[in-house]
């Protein structure tokens, strides 16, 4: 923490000063800290710690690199809801490089990045969205003539920690889906020597992203993560376990079409392909659009967008238990081979048996007597 503060000493203004200038009261700030601490499932008292840490913090340097992505993650994080939490984060950090949000362009933008990296070397937070193409030397995505791969390697070298935002950066996402023409990989496939946190989702929930960033800034370390590098606080439960429609699953009540009685009654969407049971995310609890709703609530099955390989996990609209691949074709082919080999085995059995039958000598009384 102290390192961070020192590192950001070039920025004189503290967060609280900045807030006050923008008409946010101390009370509002504390409320923000409380909701953040609650979202992160931190122990009681953490809100105060967070408030103290954040109010004292100088705006830290954050570099946001966008690779093979769709800007959906940025869209998500900038979609604000009361009390403009995402904005608070943007006010709080010194976002020195972000394609979509920065004013600078071209050489100026790249220079800004270089300078920020040099100034805060070893201290800045690197956020990545999008996957990294590696095929053919990584030529399939370049910025200012440089491949994403070399830019990431360079930026990661001086980062204190890396946050992969969105499923593409976290697990490769859509660019990595079969047949993966660009040889896309996840950040963790490139960055091996820095702490990396994944915030998967297509896109992730805005509050999840900001809370995770706030945690890093408060405690100078990434929050507790699962084996997939996701913050446990948000990805600990499956959608299914937290789903308000779970009771219908247990009762065996399922919607079988988007417009049937079951769908109207709000029954479980398992048979319409819901991937809730195998998807870990906070959608069912935190919801989207200012806590308004989430896909299942609006009648659509979960696609499992925050899980690795979700795009290759078969049809979005087939139940999790339905096998993937051309099952009918498999059966036909196997049957053809079975019949082929079966006929051969049958021929063998036939000749084997007729040899036994024909080779059989007629028994006489003499043949019964044992040689003694």
């Amino acid at each position: 923490m102290s390192q961070l503060k020192r590192n950001n000493s070039q920025i004189s203004e503290t967060f609280v000063d900045h807030l006050e200038q923008h008409g946010v009261s101390r009370r509002g700030f504390l409320k923000f800290c409380s909701s953040m601490a609650a979202a992160l499932a931190l122990p009681t008292g953490s809100a105060d710690v967070m408030a103290e840490a954040l109010s004292a913090a100088k705006r830290p340097t954050v570099i946001w690199l966008s690779f093979q992505e769709c800007t959906g993650c940025t869209e998500s994080i900038t979609r604000s809801h009361t009390p403009t939490i995402e904005n608070l984060i943007f006010d709080f950090i010194s976002l020195d490089y972000h394609h979509t949000l920065q004013v600078a362009a071209g050489h100026q933008a790249e220079e800004a990045r270089d300078m920020a990296m040099k100034d805060a070397y070893g201290k800045y937070l690197l956020i990545v969205d999008g996957s990294i193409p590696t095929k053919d030397g990584g030529v399939y995505s370049t910025i200012a003539g440089r491949t994403n791969l070399s830019m990431l390697e360079e930026a990661a070298a001086g980062a204190a920690a890396v946050i992969s935002v969105g499923t593409c950066a976290a697990y490769g996402g859509l660019p990595m889906a079969k047949p993966n023409p660009t040889g896309a990989v996840a950040v963790t496939d490139i960055v091996k020597d820095k702490p990396v946190m994944n915030i998967p989702g297509c896109p992730p929930i805005g509050l999840v992203m900001t809370s995770a960033i706030a945690h890093f800034l408060t405690f100078a370390r990434l929050p507790d993560m699962d084996e997939l590098g996701r913050p446990k606080a948000f990805y600990g439960d499956s959608i299914h376990d937290r789903c308000y429609r779970r009771t219908f699953y247990d009762q065996g009540l399922f919607a079988k079409a988007f417009d049937d009685e079951g769908a109207r009654k709000g029954w479980c969407l398992y048979e319409l392909g819901c991937k809730g049971p195998t998807t870990h995310n906070a959608c069912a609890t935190m919801k989207w659009n200012e806590g308004t709703s989430f896909p299942i609530e609006s009648g659509h099955p979960c696609l499992g967008c925050s899980e690795p390989n979700f795009w290759d996990a078969g049809s979005f609209y087939e139940a999790l238990s339905v096998p993937q691949g051309r099952v009918g074709e498999t059966v036909l082919k196997a049957a053809a081979v079975g019949v082929g080999v079966g006929v051969a085995a049958a021929a063998l059995n036939r000749s084997n048996k007729s040899a036994a039958v024909e080779g059989r000598e007629t028994m006489t009384v003499e043949d019964l007597k044992k040689e003694s």
């Binding site: 997939l228 499956s238 299914h240 376990d241 699953y249 247990d250 009762q251 065996g252 399922f254 398992y270 048979e271 049971p277 195998t278 899980e307 690795p308 390989n309 979700f310 290759d312 996990a313 078969g314 087939e318 139940a319 999790l320 238990s321 339905v322 096998p323 993937q324 691949g325 051309r326 099952v327 498999t330 059966v331 082919k333 196997a334 049957a335 081979v337 079975g338 019949v339 080999v341 079966g342 006929v343 085995a345 049958a346 021929a347 059995n349 036939r350 048996k353």
Partner: protein
């Protein structure tokens, strides 16, 4: 392999491979059986072999009183096991989706209870096999193997549903893989009886039918 990849593999390539081996194996066994032929019976039939054969395919599902009286538990356990497996396989909604059937299905809690009963029944069967002198005498490694590969899908399915020991996704993958193990081995163990019993009953019923004998 990462859990989701394992699940995708289990649901896709592995399932197709297992199903292919199952179909291939069962057909091979069928050809091996049929190819050995049967001499036509030249004796004058008293009654119809056809109706006898068809009747026996069903009538053998009921035990003879005299044997039931001697081994009621073994026979009842056999019913529990088979009906339990049937219910769990064909009346659980996710399975109905998998099989593409048009069945109503039962609630998860009923399936859950039936699963527990079926698992207990398998353990009862194991105890009988271990302690009955007759079963000790005739049991082979194959019997225990068949027992195990029948048990695994039940156990993993139960554990996945209840989030026991492992994460759901991982357990679901193991559940599917255990079913695939069953599919792969079924044609090459005594589990072939799931189909061949029809043939066996037919053949004996046919003989009995011609003789005008109860079967």
């Amino acid at each position: 392999m990462e859990v989701n990849e394992l699940l995708i593999w289990a649901r896709g390539p592995a399932f197709n491979m297992a199903l292919a081996i199952f179909v291939f194996g069962m057909l091979l066994r069928l050809f091996e059986i049929i190819s050995l032929g049967r001499k036509s019976d030249l004796s004058a039939a008293r009654d119809s072999g056809l109706s006898g054969g068809l009747r026996t395919i069903f009538s053998r599902s009921l035990p003879r009183k005299t044997v039931f009286a001697r081994e009621p538990l073994r026979i009842l356990n056999g019913y529990i096991l088979h009906i339990g497996l049937f219910v769990v396989i064909f009346f659980y909604r996710p399975h109905i989706e998998l099989l593409g059937l048009d069945l109503a299905g039962l609630s998860s809690s009923v399936i859950d209870a039936v699963t527990v009963i079926t698992i207990l029944s398998l353990f009862a069967a194991l105890l009988m096999r271990l302690y009955s002198p007759v079963l000790q005498h005739i049991s082979t490694v194959g019997d225990y193997l068949a027992w195990l590969i029948t048990l695994l899908p039940l156990i993993t399915g139960y554990m996945a549903y209840h989030h026991l020991m492992l994460d759901y996704t991982q357990m679901l993958a193991y559940h599917i893989l255990s079913v695939e193990l069953l599919l792969v081995l079924a044609p090459f163990t005594k589990l072939t009886h799931m189909f061949s019993f029809v043939l066996a009953r037919w053949y004996q019923g046919y003989l009995a039918g011609r003789r005008g004998v109860e079967s």
